[in-house]
């Protein structure tokens, strides 16, 4: 029996047209406690009104700087962090209504950045990989775990009884992938899953992820700060800034034209890889603002070269570009009625 036959995902309910996961108005504020009484003194607005959907078989890449809420979004997606507001709908079933948290985690699994911290140091590799499947009551969890280890390139006879500290970073990340897949998920959330790996190992793991996606018909949400990696693996890219979505578009479209000034800065901050044509000026000054007190209106206005009065006051809505509705952006420059002096002309050079 091949490993594909042992894969027992939840059945597809809505057909290919229904998005696999849809979130709307997702919000999470973390309280900052302090003082003698430990009262809430402020709130970190980690994720604020985030909406998006991921189609079946698609890979959505999420990019943004630290503190922009990408990891919180990932944790909300699999219920590791409880949402304040908003809706998560997995294949037509809303979480908390027709879908329990346990069922959600059957359908959605996650791979984290730190491959060592996310494995129990006292469990053997085989026990770790089989753990989730046991909890969910799947058939033959250990047999499944062995097959999955073999599939991700870890010989079960050599590795099954080792402990996490005996493995290299690349091997541990393969264990984490095997553990996620042992649950036969339909969606895998990869939160900076290859960022801690050396470049040569990263390429091996990316090849593996591509193969697994095809073999098991997986859907990925791929979070990374490395734009080259995100471009390579994703179909669409979502850009976050201080807890909000500022742009979401198909890869080719966003690579060709970054419609939001922040996205453009993020892209120009990539090293040039051309010794004759090195970067001359940093695209942005300073660090991202603190998400405890995010700027009013458009949260990017404090660092934006094109900000005007309206950007400080009104929150721009995420909407499709006139010539390409799939390319969504939240910027007053693209909204002819926003009142921005340069509105409707797109982002100036």
């Amino acid at each position: 029996m091949s490993v594909t036959d042992t894969y027992q995902p939840l059945p597809d309910t809505g057909g290919p047209a229904q998005p696999l996961i849809r979130v709307s108005g997702l919000q999470k504020y973390f309280p900052v406690r302090g003082g003698i009484l430990g009262r809430t003194q402020a709130k970190v607005q980690a994720v604020d009104g985030v909406s998006f959907e991921v189609k079946k078989g698609e890979t959505l890449g999420i990019v943004g700087e630290s503190g922009c809420g990408k990891s919180t979004t990932a944790k909300l997606l699999i219920g590791l962090v409880e949402k304040d507001k908003g809706e998560i709908v997995f294949d037509g079933h809303a979480l908390g209504e027709r879908l329990s948290l346990k069922d959600l985690r059957r359908g959605v699994q996650m791979v984290f950045q730190d491959s060592y911290a996310t494995l129990n140091p006292r469990l053997t590799i085989l026990d770790s990989v089989a753990f989730g499947a046991k909890v969910q009551g799947l058939d033959n969890p250990e047999d499944l775990a062995r097959k999955m280890m073999d599939r991700v390139g870890l010989d079960p006879d050599r590795f099954a009884h080792r402990y996490p500290h005996e493995l290299s970073g690349g091997q541990r990340q393969r264990v984490n992938i095997a553990r996620a897949l042992a649950m036969s998920p339909r969606l895998v959330v990869l939160d900076e899953a290859v960022s801690a790996l050396d470049k040569s190992v990263e390429a091996q793991v990316l090849n593996l992820l591509n193969d697994l996606r095809e073999e098991f018909g997986l859907t990925y949400v791929f979070i990374s700060h490395d734009l080259n990696v995100v471009r390579y693996i994703s179909d669409r890219i979502l850009v976050m800034y201080l807890g909000e979505v500022v742009e979401v578009a198909p890869v080719e479209s966003i690579w060709h034209e970054q419609a939001h000034p922040y996205t453009r800065s993020l892209f120009s901050a990539m090293p040039s890889m051309d010794p004759d044509n090195r970067t001359k000026e940093p695209p942005l000054a300073g660090d991202p603002p603190n998400p405890i007190n995010p700027p009013s209106g458009c949260r990017f206005h404090t660092r934006c070269r094109f900000a005007s009065a309206v950007c400080r006051e009104a929150v721009p809505k995420l909407s499709g570009l006139a010539r390409n509705g799939d390319h969504m952006v939240a910027c007053h420059l693209h909204d002819a009625e926003s009142g921005h002096p340069k509105a409707g002309q797109g982002v100036p050079e």
């Binding site: 630290s66 470049k199 591509n210 390579y232 990539m270 940093p282 660090d287």
Partner: protein, 325 residues
């Protein structure tokens, strides 16, 4: 003019429960005011090379041999006061994690001033004014106020600027930078890289920049030395390394950067993992992973191929056209 750095046949071995041959026969030389990137993956020996240069390796557990001269001074023989003058005066270092490298209980101004007082023998007031000047030079806005801030009150990018100000306060001839931008966001990383580039020109100092990111190396350095398994496998100008990489490992690293790869196309990944270095490599350490390895590669260490002045490639294949292409 004396060479800024002349490192000859450096070997570093760590003893303990298991022995690690961290650096194996590394030679490097730098002219005054040059920027060199040490490029390599984890365990390739880049950070150990920097630590050896500052004499920071634990003396009881490491065996070092070879010779290192900085500005003509033999630094292996430095002890006591002379070593203190050298560290932070002649050569200083910027670390990867500024939050750990700065002292949390002193203000940043105090920390910079302390180093200035120690090396230049000036009084506190003068040292503080040097500190202020340095914060200005690393483009920290409202430096006057920031002088009295503690490290935790600053953002990551700001802290790294303070680290750089601290390292440069005594005008070292050589700055060692150990992945100083790895922990930073991309938009902040590029700011710090450009700042280092400007300050390097302004002060005319040499810089050794350790990184695992080829893109970063291209932005910052004139020359690149690629390290693998504690050896320098290829060295040349940035231009030569990017446009005409000769060592299969360098070529593999360039391909793994995904800069120009089509979406979803199968990546030409280097298989396997680097050797553990429990024994000193006596043949090409890359041969087991190399796509163009020949039986001769396992027979002994590859001879250095020297295509041009100051360019070297440690590969048997480098002398002949690569069969894989």
């Amino acid at each position: 003019m004396t060479k800024l750095l002349e490192m000859k046949n450096l070997n570093v071995r760590f003893k303990g429960k298991r022995t690690v041959h961290a650096i194996n026969d590394v030679s490097l030389s730098m002219e005054q005011g040059e920027t060199l990137a040490l490029l390599g993956e984890s365990g390739s020996g880049k950070s150990v090379t920097l630590k050896t240069l500052l004499g920071l390796l634990p003396p009881k557990r490491s065996e070092i041999d070879g010779s290192i001269h900085v500005n003509g001074t033999d630094i292996m023989s430095l002890r006591g006061k002379a070593l203190q003058r050298y560290r932070g005066g002649e050569v200083s270092m910027v670390f990867q994690e500024p939050a750990l490298a700065l002292d949390p209980v002193y203000t940043v101004g105090h920390q910079i001033a302390e180093s200035v007082m120690r090396h230049k023998g000036v009084n506190k007031a003068e040292a503080m004014s040097t500190a202020l000047d340095m914060l200005d030079r690393v483009r920290i806005p409202s430096a006057n106020r920031r002088l009295h801030n503690y490290p935790h009150e600053l953002s990551g990018g700001m802290r790294q600027r303070v680290m750089i100000a601290l390292a440069l306060a005594c005008r070292p001839r050589l700055l060692l930078a150990d992945e100083p931008t790895t922990a930073l966001d991309a938009t902040v990383q590029i700011q710090i890289l450009l700042l280092l580039r400007e300050l390097q020109k302004e002060f005319g100092m040499g810089v050794i920049f350790v990184t695992h990111d080829i893109g970063v190396a291209v932005e910052i350095s004139e020359r690149i030395a690629v390290m693998y398994a504690g050896q320098v496998v290829e060295e040349g100008t940035t231009h030569e390394i990017i446009r005409d990489a000769r060592h299969p490992y360098t070529q593999g690293l360039l391909a793994a950067n995904l800069h120009d790869v089509a979406r979803g196309e199968r990546l030409n990944a280097i298989p396997g993992a680097p050797p553990a270095l429990e024994v000193r490599p006596d043949s090409c350490p890359f041969a087991p992973r190399c796509p163009v390895a020949m039986p001769e590669c396992a027979a002994g260490l590859p001879p250095l191929h020297l295509p041009s002045d100051r360019r070297r490639v440690a590969c048997l294949r480098a002398a002949q056209p690569l069969a894989a292409e």
